[in-house]
Symmetry: C2
Subunit: 447 residues, 2 copies
């Protein structure tokens, strides 16, 4: 490895020789002194060089000759180039950037950059065209460090509970959710579809006696919409587990995971997030508020908003309104909307004992936007088949799935949650395009 000190570790070092490596964020090439802000994946540091603009070969000593060479190199430095610099670390509280600087002794351009075609204030679409440059912004980098911390905290909870990590196939012989919004491909002598969710396969794990499972992986929707919340490919966080009594058990696990994830984020990145996004990370208190869908629509109507939908569902504005209400009333950023009508839920959601018009299901709303759907699943094969028929589905195409239930499966449930949405709403970003490494939409397949 290149012997280098990550920038974040400089503060703890005594004054003395160091080597740093990263890319050139800015250059201030003043007549008498030159400054380079070098950034690496951990932070940024000021490099300084007293400019030597002229060299008299007869009188100059070796050190002056070196300084002359460095001066010329800095004057020629392109923003974005990756460099390696060796010099002397000096703590100096007058230096705004971290109270330290490195006086350059030698500098090497490792990889020279063309002039960047975007700036921090370029349009989102243009930034996405040049995503690899966009991601050099400290704010964008932080998003993915937060993502890393969040997922590791979730997985640690699952592992401690004895849940099993699975990787379900994304190539399927049939649709997992609906025939709409389905990507299809030639597959040797037949056709395959891209999984819209791991739904069937995570339920399979229940019949397989896995107890509890989790998966973080891609899901695909041929969704032609261009909203700030939709993508054709997204990272889905999924969990499913057995021996539940109702969707309340699913919500309890869901809460536990989010609390652990947000706590880890607050501990590790709280200060950075405040600085970069102006957002205070709030670790949610348990239990999260719960409101039935019927109550939510009544409350929203009382606030003057009639949901303009023909079906029983709520709409994005309704979700924003109920979320605002919960924030005002309970000071909570999350709310479980429960008891969704059977008419607007998939056939595999369990319907309420004694009232089959509602399901044992929920949506989780975070800061005004739905981030997840969870439910108890119907595990009784006769009821499940009837519900499939009720939704106009072909039992033949579902045969492999229905088999899971014919050979025994315990009561179970789970949820799927969109990773990019959680990050978007946590950080107050305006679109999942900002919180997805490489966004995919109807007109975006590059880079």
């Amino acid at each position: 490895m290149t012997a280098r000190t990550p920038v974040s570790q400089l503060a703890a070092l005594p004054d003395g020789p160091v080597t740093v490596a990263g890319w050139v964020e800015t250059v201030r090439d003043q007549k008498k002194v030159q400054f380079v802000i070098l950034r690496d994946e951990t932070g940024s540091v000021q490099l300084v060089n007293p400019a030597v603009r002229e060299l008299d070969p007869e009188t100059s000593d070796a050190a002056t000759a070196d300084a002359f060479a460095v001066t010329n190199e800095i004057s020629a430095l392109a923003h974005g180039s990756f460099i390696k610099a060796t010099g002397t670390l000096k703590h100096d509280e007058r230096v705004k950037l971290g109270g330290l600087e490195v006086k350059i002794e030698s500098l090497a351009v490792v990889s020279e950059a063309l002039e960047a075609p975007i700036a921090a204030d370029s349009s989102l679409d243009k930034r996405l065209d040049w995503r690899f440059l966009d991601l050099r912004q400290p704010k964008q980098n932080l998003i993915f460090r937060v993502q890393t911390t969040f997922l590791h905290a979730l997985r640690t909870v699952w592992v401690e509970k004895g849940f099993i990590e699975i990787h379900t196939p994304k190539l399927m012989a049939s649709a997992s959710e609906s025939r709409a919004e389905l990507f299809q491909l030639e597959y040797f002598e037949t056709v395959a579809y891209l999984a819209q969710s791991p739904q069937f396969f995570k339920q399979m794990a229940q019949s397989a006696g896995f107890g509890g499972i989790f998966e973080v992986g891609p899901a695909f929707r041929a969704d032609p919409s261009f909203t700030s919340r939709h993508a054709t490919e997204f990272t889905s966080i999924d969990s499913e587990f057995s021996w539940i009594d109702s969707h309340e058990d699913v919500m309890a696990l869901h809460e536990e995971l989010l609390v652990a994830g947000f706590q880890a984020i607050a501990d590790k990145h709280g200060d950075e997030i405040r600085e970069a996004f102006g957002v205070e990370v709030t670790v949610p208190s348990r239990p999260f508020p719960r409101v039935t869908l019927a109550d939510a629509k009544r409350i929203v109507a009382e606030r003057g908003y009639e949901v303009p939908r023909a079906d029983a569902d709520i709409d994005p504005e309704g979700e924003r309104q109920i979320s605002a209400y919960v924030k005002e009333e309970f000071g909570h950023e999350f709310v479980f909307l429960t008891d969704y009508d059977s008419s607007i839920r998939p056939f595999y959601h369990m319907r309420r004992e004694g009232d089959p018009s509602v399901t044992n299901s929920y949506d989780l709303i975070f800061n005004g936007v739905e981030i997840s759907t969870g439910a108890q699943r119907e595990h009784r094969i006769d009821v499940l088949e009837a519900q499939a028929r009720d939704k106009g589905l072909e039992p033949e195409e579902l045969a492999f799935y229905l088999d899971f239930f014919r050979y025994g499966v315990p009561p179970h449930g789970g949820f799927g949650m969109g990773l990019a949405r959680v990050l978007m709403l946590l950080l107050g970003e305006s679109s999942i395009r900002e919180t997805t490494y490489l966004f995919r939409g109807p007109t975006r397949l590059l880079p």
Copy 2:
């Protein structure tokens, strides 16, 4: 949640009332006493019921009536049905299965099973047809618990190093590895391809200044072969990081990860693996042996095997032979084969300074089979372009990728490793079909 005690926790409980839940593994319905082996995701336990075969309604007390009911329920129990049983735990060292049993007081069939169409000794293909039943075998279940432990250990190493978890898109505008073995799909007004690897996108993270990244996700190859090592969809473990000096740095990280992963497996599952697979988990010592490809072919030839290939590569039998040699000579299950010829490596592998006929790359062989390819990448745009042309590639199709290098990228490298292969070779299984949750091959898309 259903109040139940996971079977693995029974041993630590005192004698007394317990509830267990799981599926029926076996029933021994003897005249005077009935035994049920119940299994859950943590283990199996013997349930016992003194059979009451006749009931005289006039003389029998309530307890006898209950026992009569339980007797009939057990007699009617189908293998594979999920049940819940309440009874009295009794430690008794005469009981072979864990030295304890549960005397049943009440029993409920939660989900009744049809008779299983497979047995443990069914053909692999038939077991895969009924994978959800196949996975109920303790041995199969263990594979996925080992997988969970392995991946969590790897991720913990990465997280502690400050590596960032990324989720690269699986929908691409062009091929990432080669035009061969590429799945293509209609994508709105254009076509998309399924990612054969995250190669381009994990390198993008280096230009984006992420430093080090990791990803565990699916990769897709339209590979028509039916070997024990190939699948059309597989879980790839990928890492990539900056500021390396050569592929030696990549191998060092690779070793560190595998040692951590195997140590975690040995600690958590060593005994179970010995029992179920007859395999001793060996935590590999560092450094792993390294053999150049040229030396490997010479050594293999000296053992009497001439690699029957027209190109410079080694073949699967050659890999087995060199692995056997290393095992004999150094007592090591791993070997890095290094210095692969440029002619048989992708354009993005860095060629050796001073000898461009070899690359700064390696394959990692574990117990005779290749599990991974790693390399230092070429980060100099002019060299990279020349190497692409040298391989007959169209620079236009690679334009978005080559841009990463035009705007600066530090020296970097990484590897991709097949998860199912690691598990197969660790556990001495004969095919990745056994160590993949749901295998996908040219003729297998179901379940």
